[in-house]
Amino acid sequence: MVVQMENKITSFVNSEDVDRPVLINVEDTNIYYGDNHAVKHVNMPIHERSITALIGPSGCGKSTFIRTINRMNDLIPSARCEGKIDYHGINILSPKVDVVKLRTEIGMVFQQPNPFPKSISENIQLPLKFAGIHNKKTLRDVTEKCLKQVGLWEEVKDRLDRSATGLSGGQQQRLCIARALALKPDVILLDEPTSALDPVSSAKIEELLLQLKKDYTIVIVTHNMQQAARIADYTAFFYQGELVEFGTTKTLFTMPEKKSTSDYICGRFG
């Protein structure tokens, strides 16, 4: 199936969901690591209930950028952001923002599946319990719903109390997505979610994302152009810290405006 999908890149048409309203607007955002100017003057919209892919060669700043959208870069002492990321009228980058609350609305899934070494159900219930939900039935219902959303329910329903670290890599990653869904966020950020997985698991995750975009706004970093072409409605091409080009996936892949975009897409570098 994956191979088939890859062959379809050039004929890929995904225009049904374009021109959704803008949920997050990035305005002239700069990110520094100490003196290193890692992301330069980025302006781009993120459209509601669609998939936006960030592509580009390693070190182009795409991961740095996505980690700024829910302020995960706060963990790095030398990181510093300037500019504005507008979300429901507030600037995400403002020091006044309650990052803990922000992250319940803008969730994140990482490259390496990182389930907690606890049981499968505890993995999903941990954020719920922190949010003050202690009703056992609610917890069970949400667990079941989230696991069904990611297509993991049938595989794990008989061993919910077993450790999540016993799952396969692909299952772990779907559990991490289910965990991020538990709090019903608006936006899900995924930082190369399939790069540590085998092709079959990757394809499952891609299908899942296409399902999820009906209800969620999805931003995904990927080094895999075919993946962006397969699932994204919008694609942003980053190169050397700059946003070279942003557009609908169809336009970007079929009629790129900049030469470096077409060079990258055609595999001439990166």
């Binding site: 829910n70 995960m72 803990v100 922000l102 954020p127 077993r162 450790s163 991490c176 709090l183």
Partner: protein, 294 residues
């Protein structure tokens, strides 16, 4: 000289060092156990020590060793783990942090006799705790605190960053992430470190000579009221521990069976410390297996 020969020489040197180390340890343990085990009997473990006559036991000393250890751990574990968590998770790199860290290192490398003198001046004299369980435990706290801080900090630093990111990305606060995700994961290594340090505290003598004292009142093991002067639980009575007892018997004892008592006590001490080490391994392994879900 070709590389094969160099390889052989390096290997034989390493093996030689390992053999020297293992045989020293085996000889030492063997000597202590062979000499001591014959002196250990139920009577020896459960009777009071005698000042003049032969046939005294180590009941009180054994109890004191465990009691001082428990009090020390009650004092050290909360402070030490909190300090370690602070250094690993909250302290921002800077002058203050590196100052705190070097303080911990200096504290860890203080000779225990110096800690004992300090304990005597501060706890025994200044605070007026006299030679007591409490003074001894406080001195051992000074001695043990840096170890626990270090063990905790290392335990947290060894955790993969993506676990912390996972917690924070789910909208948990930093503290809640530490409490529910990082601490349980670091727990096996912290616990192993704590048990190993317990072995060290258990065998410590120099820091206790001038703080817990070299005598024990006649303990009444039926009286568990901590306020009564001859209760085993009394914090303000003097308490000669097992290792101090070995030293005291050897240097100033006037009992006729000095050799037997010293050998027997040493064997008991070594067996206890060995048990702490084995326990640390077993518990660490058990929790690890439980956590990884096998």
């Amino acid at each position: 000289m070709n590389s094969k020969v160099t390889n052989r020489i390096a290997l034989s040197l390493i093996v030689l060092c390992a053999v020297i180390m293992v045989s020293t340890l085996a000889a030492l343990l063997g000597y202590i156990l062979v000499k001591g085990l014959t002196n250990i009997s139920w009577h020896f473990l459960t009777s009071e020590s005698s000042a003049f006559m032969a046939g005294g036991g180590i009941k009180d000393q054994l109890w004191n060793s465990f009691y001082v250890l428990i009090i020390t751990m009650i004092l050290t574990i909360p402070i030490g783990t909190s300090g370690g968590i602070y250094l690993a998770e909250y302290a921002r790199p800077g002058k203050l942090t590196s100052f705190i860290r070097s303080c911990v290192e200096v504290l860890a490398s203080l000779p225990s006799i110096v800690v004992g003198m300090f304990g005597m001046l501060i706890f025994v004299n200044y605070f007026g705790f006299k030679f007591s369980v409490l003074s001894g435990a406080l001195a051992l706290t000074v001695f043990n605190l840096p170890v626990i801080v270090r063990v905790t900090e290392d335990g947290f630093r060894a955790l993969p960053l993506h676990q912390k990111e996972g917690g924070l990305a789910l909208g948990l606060t930093h503290w809640h992430t530490i409490k529910t995700i990082l601490l349980p994961e670091a727990f096996p290594s912290i616990l192993t470190g704590i048990i190993l340090s317990a072995g060290r505290v258990f065998g410590e003598s120099a820091a206790l000579l001038f703080t817990a004292g070299m005598s024990t009142p006649n303990l009444d093991f039926t009286n568990w009221n901590p306020a009564s002067p001859n209760s085993p639980l009394n914090l303000f009575r003097s308490a000669e521990t097992l290792s101090v007892h070995i030293w005291a018997v050897n240097t100033s004892g006037i009992i006729p069976d000095i050799q037997a008592v010293a050998n027997g006590s040493s064997a008991v001490l070594v067996i206890c410390v060995l048990m702490f080490n084995l326990l640390a391994r077993a518990v660490g392994k058990m929790i690890n297996q439980k956590l990884s879900g096998r």
